[in-house]
C-alpha cells in the first residue's frame, strides 16, 4: 500500500487536483440557464454571464463552456469577446466603456449567448444600461473627514453631465464581503457628501479602499467607483514577546522543545538498549547449543 501511494505521489499532477471538463454527463432532458450581470466601473464595464444547467429541481453550474458577449444599440452589434465559464459557471469579460454602441438615449443593450452543444441547449440573456461614472473625493473640513461623491453620465454630445437625486451606497471591502458604512443622496448637481467614520481598520499604513455604488438602478444598472485613502486605523499585527504555539512564530516554546527532546530521547534510548540486547544475544550464540 505504501508502494502504491508512493507511486501515486510520483505521477500526481498538481493541475489535476480537480476534475477538468467533468460536466454533467447525463443525457436526459436538461435546460440551460444563462444570467447576465453588469457592473460599470470608472472606465470599464464588467459583464458576468453565469451559465447553469437545470435538471429537475437541481441547477448545476456548467464549466468550460464558451459564452459570447456583445453590446448593441439596435442597429450596430459589437462583439465584446468570448469567455469560458469557470467552476462556478461564470464567464467574465471586461470592456472599455468608451466606444460602446449606444442608442439615442445613451442606452447600451448587452447580451450573452451560449450556443449550446449536443448535450445542452442554447441560452441567451440580456441587460440594458447606460454607462455612468462615480468619483470619490476626500477632504478634511473643520477636522472632519469628508467623503464627497459625484456621479455623471454622458449626453449625446459625449459631455459628462450630473446624475441627480440618486442614492449611492458606501462600502469598505472586508475579508469576506463589502462592509456598508453609509449612504449618500445625490443633489441636483449629482454630488453628495458624508462624514467618514474614524474607527475603521485599514492596512498597516491605514490605507482603506472605499467603494461607492449605485445599485439596481433602472437606467444605470450597477455603477461602481472606488478610491484609496489612508484614513483607516493602522492595523497592528500581534507580535508575541515570547515564542508561543502559533505556527508562524520562529521557534516553538522552550517547554515544548524540552518535553519533546526528553520524551524522544527516553524512548529511543530504550529502543537502542533493546537492540543492544539483541546484538549481545547474537554474540553469545557462538557458544550456545541448539534447542532441539
Amino acid at each position: 500500500m505504501f508502494f502504491l501511494l508512493a507511486l501515486g505521489s510520483l505521477v500526481i499532477q498538481p493541475e489535476r487536483s480537480f476534475a477538468e471538463g467533468n460536466t454533467d454527463s447525463t443525457s436526459t432532458a436538461v435546460e440551460s440557464k444563462l444570467a447576465l450581470n453588469y457592473l460599470c466601473g470608472a472606465d470599464t464595464v464588467t459583464l458576468t454571464a453565469t451559465l447553469g444547467i437545470k435538471k429537475g429541481d437541481a441547477t448545476l453550474a456548467l464549466k468550460n463552456a464558451w459564452v459570447e458577449l456583445t453590446a448593441s444599440n439596435g442597429t450596430i452589434c459589437k462583439l465584446l469577446g468570448k469567455a469560458k465559464t469557470d467552476q462556478e459557471g461564470n464567464a467574465v469579460i471586461k470592456a472599455a466603456s468608451s466606444g460602446l454602441p449606444a442608442d439615442k438615449d445613451g442606452m447600451v443593450a448587452f447580451s450573452a449567448k451560449f450556443a449550446g452543444n449536443a448535450k445542452y441547449p442554447a441560452a441567451e440573456a440580456s441587460f440594458k444600461a447606460k454607462p455612468a461614472k462615480i468619483r470619490l473625493f476626500f477632504s478634511i473640513e473643520d477636522s472632519l473627514r469628508i467623503l464627497k461623491v459625484t456621479a455623471t453620465e454622458k449626453n449625446e454630445k459625449g459631455e459628462e453631465i450630473a446624475i441627480p437625486k440618486e442614492k449611492v451606497l458606501i462600502y469598505i471591502p472586508r475579508l469576506f464581503s463589502l462592509l456598508k458604512i453609509g449612504e449618500i443622496a445625490l443633489d441636483e448637481q449629482g454630488t453628495g457628501t458624508m462624514e467618514f467614520p474614524k474607527e475603521i481598520v485599514g492596512d498597516t499604513l491605514g490605507n482603506l479602499m472605499v467603494v461607492a455604488k449605485i445599485e439596481e438602478n433602472d437606467k444605470f444598472g450597477f455603477v461602481q467607483g472606488q478610491n484609496i485613502i489612508n484614513w483607516g486605523v493602522h492595523k497592528q499585527y500581534y507580535k508575541a514577546e515570547v515564542p508561543s504555539r502559533e505556527l508562524w512564530t520562529p521557534i516553538a516554546p522552550l517547554w515544548m522543545i524540552i518535553t519533546l527532546i526528553v520524551m524522544l530521547a527516553g524512548v529511543w534510548a530504550h529502543y537502542i538498549y533493546a537492540v543492544y540486547e539483541l546484538v549481545m544475544i547474537r554474540r553469545l550464540s557462538k557458544k550456545d547449543k541448539p534447542l532441539f
Partner: protein, 437 residues
C-alpha cells in the same frame, strides 16, 4: 527420542507448511479487493479528490475515520500484548501473538489513509523539511514513526524464541530459503540462561515502552481534534476517551482474530472458551469505561448549552441518529449483557458481540469526524448543498475495503510465516499446559 512425537510444533506445522485451496482462494479474493482499491486510487490520483465526497466544508471523511480506527486497533494490540506480558497473565500465550500482529499490521495500514487524504502527495516531504514542533500534525508524525519502530522491535523480541524453534526443528518441511530466513532472524538464539536473561530484560522494557507509547501516541491523535475549537472536538477528556475507545475496539478485533484462527487452523485445543471469556471480560470492562466517557463528554456538551454544541447534538440525534445509537448505545450495552450474563457467554455470542463492537467503534469515529465538520463555526458563503454535507463515494469505500483486505492479507501471511500461537514455551507433551492455561 522421537522428535515428531516430542515437539510441540507438530500441531502447528500444517499452518506453516501448506496452504489449502481455500487458503489460496482467500488470498486471491483479498488481492482482488486490493486490485479494486488500486483502481480507485489511480482514479483519485488522476482526477483529484473531486472523486471523493470530501469538499470545502467536510475536508475529512472515511479516510480519517479509517486512520483513527486502524491506529486505535494498533494501540490496543500494543496495550493488550504489553500488559499481558508484563503481568505474566496465565492465559496470555494463545492470544498474545495475535495482539502483537494486530499492533504492527494496523500500524502499517493506518497512516496510509492519511496519505490518501492528502490532496498534494508531492508536498509530503514538506512535513519533514518544514515541520513545526508547534503543530499537532508534527507531533503525530513523530509519534507514529516512533511507535512503528517500537512495535517492530517488540514484535521481533516476542517472536525470537519461536524463530529459533523453527530454525532448529528439522522435521518441518519448508523451503530452504525460509529456513535460511529463520536462521538469520533467530540471531543464533539457543536459549542459554544468559541469552534468556537478556531477551527477557529487553522484552520487559519494550513491553513497558509500547504501553507508554501507545497511550501517548493515541492521545496525540486525540489532541489533533481537541486542541481545535470545533464543536464536538474541543474536549479535555478526548485523550483518555480515544485511548479507551482504541483498546475497546482492539479487544474486539482480537476476539474476532481468535475465532478466525481457531476455526481455520483448528486450534480448539489451544484457544478455548476460557480465552474468549477472558478477553471478553476485558472488552466488558472497556465497554463500561467507553460508555462512561461517552456519557460524560456528551452530558457536559448538552448541559453547557453552547449554541454550536447544541446544534451538533441535534444533528447527532437527527441526521446521524442510527450511527449514534449503534455506536453509543448498542456498542456499549451489548458486551455488558452478553459477557456480563453467564448464560449468554458462549464463544459464538462473544465473537458476534465483538463484530458489533468493531462496527460500533468505526461508527463512533465517523460521528466524531463528520458531523462536526458539517456544523462549522465559520459557514462558507454561497455553498452548494453537496459541499455542506458529506457522503463517501465508491472510491472511498473501495479504499476502505482495501485497508481491511490488506490487514487480512498481512495477518494471513504472518500466520504462514510464524505460528499464530507461541510454541517456544512448550518443550514436550508434558508442558502443553503452559499454553493451554
Amino acid at each position: 527420542m522421537d522428535p515428531q512425537q516430542k515437539n510441540p510444533l507438530r500441531d502447528f506445522a500444517p499452518q506453516l507448511e501448506r496452504t489449502s485451496i481455500q487458503g489460496y482462494a482467500w488470498i486471491a479474493f483479498l488481492l482482488g479487493v486490493i486490485g479494486l482499491g488500486f483502481y480507485a486510487f489511480m482514479d483519485q490520483v488522476l482526477n483529484g479528490h473531486i472523486v471523493t465526497g470530501m469538499r470545502d466544508n467536510v475536508v475529512w471523511g472515511v479516510y480519517i475515520v479509517n486512520f483513527i480506527f486502524f491506529m486505535g486497533v494498533s494501540y490496543a494490540g500494543a496495550l493488550i500484548s504489553g500488559t499481558l506480558h508484563l503481568f505474566k497473565t496465565a492465559w496470555r500465550k494463545p492470544v498474545i501473538r495475535m495482539a502483537e500482529f494486530i499492533t504492527v499490521i494496523s500500524l502499517l495500514i493506518g497512516p496510509c489513509f492519511i496519505l490518501l487524504c492528502i490532496g498534494r502527495l508531492d508536498r509530503l516531504p514538506y512535513l519533514i523539511l518544514f515541520g513545526r514542533i508547534q503543530s499537532p500534525i508534527t507531533w503525530d508524525v513523530i509519534a507514529i514513526s516512533t511507535d512503528i519502530f517500537g512495535c517492530f522491535i517488540f514484535l521481533y523480541l516476542a517472536i525470537l524464541r519461536d524463530l529459533a524453534t523453527l530454525r532448529d526443528y528439522e522435521l518441518l518441511q519448508l523451503p530452504k530459503w525460509r529456513k535460511k530466513i529463520y536462521k538469520t532472524l533467530a540471531l543464533g538464539y539457543t536459549g542459554t540462561p544468559e541469552q534468556q536473561e537478556r531477551l527477557n530484560r529487553a522484552t520487559d522494557i519494550m513491553a513497558t515502552m509500547v504501553i507508554a507509547i501507545a497511550i501517548i501516541v493515541y492521545s496525540v491523535l486525540a489532541w489533533i481534534f481537541s486542541v481545535t475549537l470545533q464543536p464536538g472536538w474541543h474536549s479535555t477528556i478526548f485523550g483518555p476517551y480515544f485511548v479507551i475507545a482504541a483498546v475497546y475496539s482492539g479487544s474486539a478485533v482480537l476476539i474476532i482474530s481468535m475465532w478466525v484462527f481457531r476455526k481455520v487452523y483448528h486450534l480448539e485445543e489451544y484457544i478455548t472458551k476460557k480465552h474468549f471469556v477472558s478477553v471478553g471480560v476485558i472488552m466488558l470492562v472497556l465497554a463500561a469505561f467507553f460508555g462512561y466517557f461517552t456519557f460524560s463528554d456528551y452530558l457536559t456538551k448538552w448541559y453547557g448549552s453552547e449554541k454550536n454544541d447544541e446544534l451538533l447534538i441535534q444533528l447527532l440525534f437527527k441526521k446521524f441518529y442510527w450511527p449514534f445509537i449503534i455506536s453509543n448505545y448498542v456498542g456499549v450495552l451489548l458486551p455488558l449483557i452478553v459477557v456480563g450474563i453467564a448464560r449468554f457467554r458462549t464463544i459464538r455470542n462473544i465473537t458476534l458481540t465483538a463484530v458489533v463492537v468493531v462496527i460500533a467503534l468505526w461508527l463512533n469515529r465517523y460521528i466524531i469526524v463528520v458531523p462536526t465538520l458539517e456544523s462549522p463555526y465559520l459557514p462558507i458563503q454561497d455553498a452548494r448543498p453537496e459541499w455542506l454535507n458529506y457522503s463517501a463515494t465508491w472510491v472511498e469505500w473501495s479504499l476502505t475495503a482495501t485497508g481491511v483486505a490488506v490487514f487480512c492479507l498481512l495477518f494471513t501471511l504472518a500466520s504462514k510465516f510464524i505460528t499464530i500461537v507461541p510454541v517456544s514455551g512448550i518443550e514436550g507433551e508434558g508442558k502443553k499446559e503452559d499454553v493451554l492455561i
